[in-house]
């Protein structure tokens, strides 16, 4: 049947060409995608704690292996869990915002793919750690049940300590600033008044000295400083203002600063436990 065969060739050819081109496209596309996924920059940098733990696990395979006690492995696993918990928190916190960004088109599909991959890895690592914790725990202490609790608490504690450390540095700056300021104001005041001999022994700039000298000396620091402040702002007024104060031997604060010291010392007693 030559006639029938000839009429069949074109459609068959057509189908072959279509299917062939589709297959080529799909294989190329997939290859590219796989390549892109492989070359994708990881969301998180490679974690050192994971490497350490796995190295410790695999040390027996190396020649001339040192003996690793289980306690070291447990510590390493805990450290790894801490790192993973931090990552898990980051992933959970950034998922929502990233989704919004993706919908608005501010973020590309590749970033989203990268993120999803990171999420998967973190999940897998969590599972792995839970399994290892189970393997390392004893019969009456199923560690897998609370290793993440412990790790999370350790992360929180570490952050808290870091914050406190930061605050400590700030505090030192404050203390320095204040001691410098009192020092400057005092020396200016003394220079302008020329009464250095009369006042100097009672008012020392160093808080430690104030502490030693007790309340009497401390009580005099403030009126003195206030007057100094004024000499800073309006030098002319102080000449008239500070002189009588010296005569009163600092017992009553001058009228120029009524809301200053007294209220402070009164309140002080109220808040005490």
């Amino acid at each position: 049947m030559p006639f029938n065969l000839a009429s069949f060739i074109p459609p068959v050819l057509y189908i072959l060409v279509i299917v062939g081109s589709m297959a080529t496209f799909s294989s190329l596309y997939r290859k590219r995608k796989a390549q892109a996924a492989a070359s994708m920059e990881p969301w998180f940098p490679q974690s050192l704690s994971r490497d350490i733990y796995l190295t410790l696990l695999h040390l027996p395979d190396t020649p001339n292996p040192p003996k690793i006690p289980d306690s070291v492995l447990r510590a390493a696993l805990l450290q790894r869990a801490m790192d993973v918990i931090q990552k898990a928190i980051t992933v959970r916190n950034s998922k929502g915002p990233l989704q919004t960004l993706l919908q608005r088109g501010s973020v590309g599909d590749d970033t989203w793919a990268q993120f999803l991959q990171a999420e998967q890895t973190v999940d897998a690592e969590l599972k792995e750690i839970a399994e290892d914790a189970m393997a390392l725990s004893t019969q009456n202490q199923p560690w897998a049940q609370f290793i993440f609790q412990t790790a999370a608490e350790m992360v929180t504690n570490e952050r808290l300590r870091a914050k406190l450390e930061e605050q400590n540095i700030k505090s030192q700056e404050w203390a320095e600033w204040w001691s410098k300021k009192t020092e400057k104001v005092r020396s200016e005041f003394l220079a302008s008044e020329g009464v250095a001999d009369a006042v100097a022994p009672a008012t020392s700039p160093n808080p430690a000295n104030v502490l030693m000298a007790g309340k009497a000396a401390a009580a005099e620091v403030v009126p003195e400083r206030r007057a100094g402040n004024h000499s800073d702002e309006d030098g002319v007024l102080v000449e008239a203002d500070a002189a009588p104060k010296e005569a009163k031997s600092l017992k009553s604060t001058p009228g120029s600063t009524p809301s200053g010291t007294p209220s402070g010392s009164v309140r002080k007693k109220k808040g005490r436990k």
Binding site: L48, R50, L54, W178, N229, E233, G264, K273
Partner: protein
């Protein structure tokens, strides 16, 4: 993700300390990470099998010590030996902040905020405004709610140091946190705020006059 970098590690037999083996391509931060791990390991050895207990379980001895130090600090304060009190609070603080990290951080917050607040009070009594301000700030940072005293002390110190604007800000913040208590425990925040506002006004007047 199924691969890992085999690190040049070894362990010292006697001390069980992990050390880095010398290699041609040194890994950054490895030595520090190993030192951290070794410290963690040593601190874990106190437990059976080196498994730290869940965060809910805390060592009662340390809590007792912290409390004792704080109480003696309070006693010193009552005896008006403020320097001694500040020192004792400092010890209590050290004890509290060196709690092992697997214990609850909320507890550290609670304790530390109270001790900081007390030490701020002692510093105020000593007229160490800068130190008092810092302690009170720590306390507020650790526990902003139900902590009127710390807010108040912080503002007092700022005011005494001449930082009126900052004092006003702190007072407003403190009142905001306090608003949830429906004004039951105002703790003098409002009256101090009034004073500070008056002082600011006065200062502005003085500035305008010159």
């Amino acid at each position: 993700m199924d691969s890992f970098t085999l690190l040049p590690l070894t362990i010292e037999e006697a001390s069980k300390a992990l050390v880095e083996r010398p290699s041609t391509t040194p890994t950054p931060h490895l030595a520090a990470a190993l030192a951290e791990l070794t410290t963690l390991h040593r601190s874990l050895l106190q437990f059976d099998n080196a498994i730290p207990p869940p965060p809910g379980l805390i060592n009662p001895k340390r809590s007792a010590q912290v409390n004792k130090l704080r109480e003696s600090g309070n006693a010193a304060f009552r005896k008006q030996t403020f320097g001694e009190a500040a020192k004792l609070y400092g010890y209590a603080l050290e004890m509290c902040l060196s709690r092992p990290h697997w214990e609850q951080s909320a507890l550290v917050r609670e304790e530390a905020s109270m001790i900081y607040s007390n030490r701020a009070q002692a510093n105020i009594a000593l007229r160490n405004w800068a130190e008092g301000m810092c302690d009170a700030e720590m306390s507020c940072g650790l526990k902003p709610k139900d902590n009127v005293k710390a807010w108040y002390r912080r503002a007092v110190c700022l005011k005494e140091m001449g930082k009126l604007e900052d004092a006003r800000e702190v007072l407003e913040m403190g009142s905001e946190w306090e608003a949830e208590n429906m004004g039951k425990t105002d703790g003098g925040l409002r009256s101090l705020l009034k004073e500070v506002l008056e002082a600011i006004e006065e200062k502005e007047k003085a500035a305008a006059a010159t």
